[in-house]
Assembly symmetry: D3
Homo-oligomer: 135 residues x 6
């Protein structure tokens, strides 16, 4: 009896899309106004899901309080109110697109979720744009 | 041409998380304030999805009115404005976590959905916590 | 330059609508299934708004962190995961309708908001039912 | 490293559910008030998702601006503020149920999305009724 | 102690914006694609609010069940799944803009709400466009 | 017959809260992590409302297309994907709190809305924090 358990969280951050190997013209052609050198920002909404068997004693797949605290300590503390390009080490050499941010979040959480449970990350960059990564 | 058809519904209920084999200290350690012996409650939001082939005559996988009425008669009538622990027989010996409530809802609906169609239940306990069960 | 500043919060609680001076028949006639003696519950969504002049030094009418902490200490700690009828003193002699809960919340917050600022409480009992109280 | 990228869009349209081979009594029995010969309408909310490998240079699975423009030119221009039965050729011989509209949208987009990427269409007919089609 | 009590409802309808005294060119210039002679449609979301004193016996300004039934019988039965221009008498000589629909709804409800209570109608034509009328 | 007409829009931007007359310690004490010198950002959601008499010929208080275009040209073009502190002249000497951004938006729109109509700006900095300014 596998159940998927999902928890929403959120963080605010600044970023810019920019590839240092490209000149300004190419960066603007590919990334448009997301390339603004002065940064822009988003309220990122995050849904972290863990799928696994229910513990017959607790009725939980995972304790929501533990999942909530894990998201806070591993993701919110690292990304909230940050400039992703400047202050988050993973994005020194990785463009902080929604796709790449979702993968970074997945990789930060994966070691802390039981290996026999599946992990999924959904990241809303805006209410109209979002990405899903399952490893 | 398989399509998944989804219908949202909702019900309000009281519950507490509590395992009678455990003493108060252990119940509180595991379930925290959800263990309150006087109960607390939620507006549960429910999404029931049925996946199957489209009927070529009607253009429906399932008639939404029939699905809506099924959810009302089998789920809302059983759970809405109820105390899950006290008044719903399935939870006499099962802790009413979101995971277990989703399984109970699935089991109540499954006999009434064509066996060649897949059934999925998503249950929001709060806007930030939800679970998914597909049998 | 008066601005209204609003902060959303939420709490979960159980309650029942019941008037002890009435017999069961009248209680049921007036309150319907909300009269269930075993309680039911809701995810209450709360919007607290403070209207006043902007502080020219900070650019704030009120610091959102202070407002958030005030809602947590005065409202969430008192009402979250509680049985409103049994555990919240204000409802010993007051029926916990959405209207009355909003007034209780307003009265709990009013002494902690500057008297030259207006206070408003919006309380969602469900996504479809809500009330507004301005004192 | 496959990621699913999703974009929301919307269009408003009128439609009726009606099968010309059936008489009025049968049409009403099956389609109820959706059979109204004078039409009714909806704000359709659409989520288009593309799943594929991340381009290592851009960090994108698909450029959201290109996906947004594709939805506008192929779907919104064809369906927005239209009477689906009268003005959209695909529905001359196909009943515009949510299921069939989702398939039509999928078929319109599929030729314009890389064949090594998966496409998914979610269509909300109302906030409570929606369908999902993946080809 | 005045409280405002609000109830959400919804209905789906087709309409067109068109003024018979104007020729097609002027109608199109003013109403754009909303002028489509074949109609288009919306999921209208409605919030009806009643403001008044709390009844000290019930704790209600107005019983939500009664307000819900009133909206169903006076508004949903009249407008849901209808073509507003063709089937709703009030729009024989009135253009069904959101503004005018809100006024029609207000006028239909006003006689059924106590005269010492205030009435407000908010009507969402789309999630991004809405109007408010208070008489 | 006055009606209030509301239109939602949105823009993404980076900002920081910082008062140059204060040292770092005081800036951090007042603005907390919003003081981050590398900026953070938000998806700002904006609701612009215009209240006035309905034009008897069109049934409009204001044409939504004109209001939408006004918001785009005066607000979105000025603020979207911008660093508010660095790139928006109004914030050279004004801290970009939600309160001050709402006032700047109001002042940019006011000259373009008929003087006999009321204007209101609601600005969501996050889904949980928002402000309202009416001039």
């Amino acid at each position: 009896m596998k159940v998927k358990v999902s928890r929403k969280a959120h963080f605010n951050a600044a970023h810019r899309l920019y590839r240092k190997e490209w000149d300004d013209t190419k960066n603007y052609a590919i990334f448009g106004k997301c390339n603004n050198p002065n940064y822009h920002g988003h309220n990122y909404e995050l849904i972290v899901s863990v799928t696994g068997e229910i513990d017959q004693e607790t009725g939980f797949v995972v304790d929501m309080k533990i999942l909530k605290d894990l998201i806070r300590s591993k993701i919110e503390d690292a990304l909230d109110h940050k400039n992703l390009n400047v202050e988050v080490p993973e994005f020194k050499s990785l463009i902080p697109t929604a796709e790449n941010i979702a993968i970074v979040i997945y990789n930060k959480l994966r070691p802390h979720v039981d290996s026999n449970k599946e992990l999924e990350v959904v990241l809303y960059e805006t209410p109209r744009n979002f990405v899903t990564y399952k490893g």
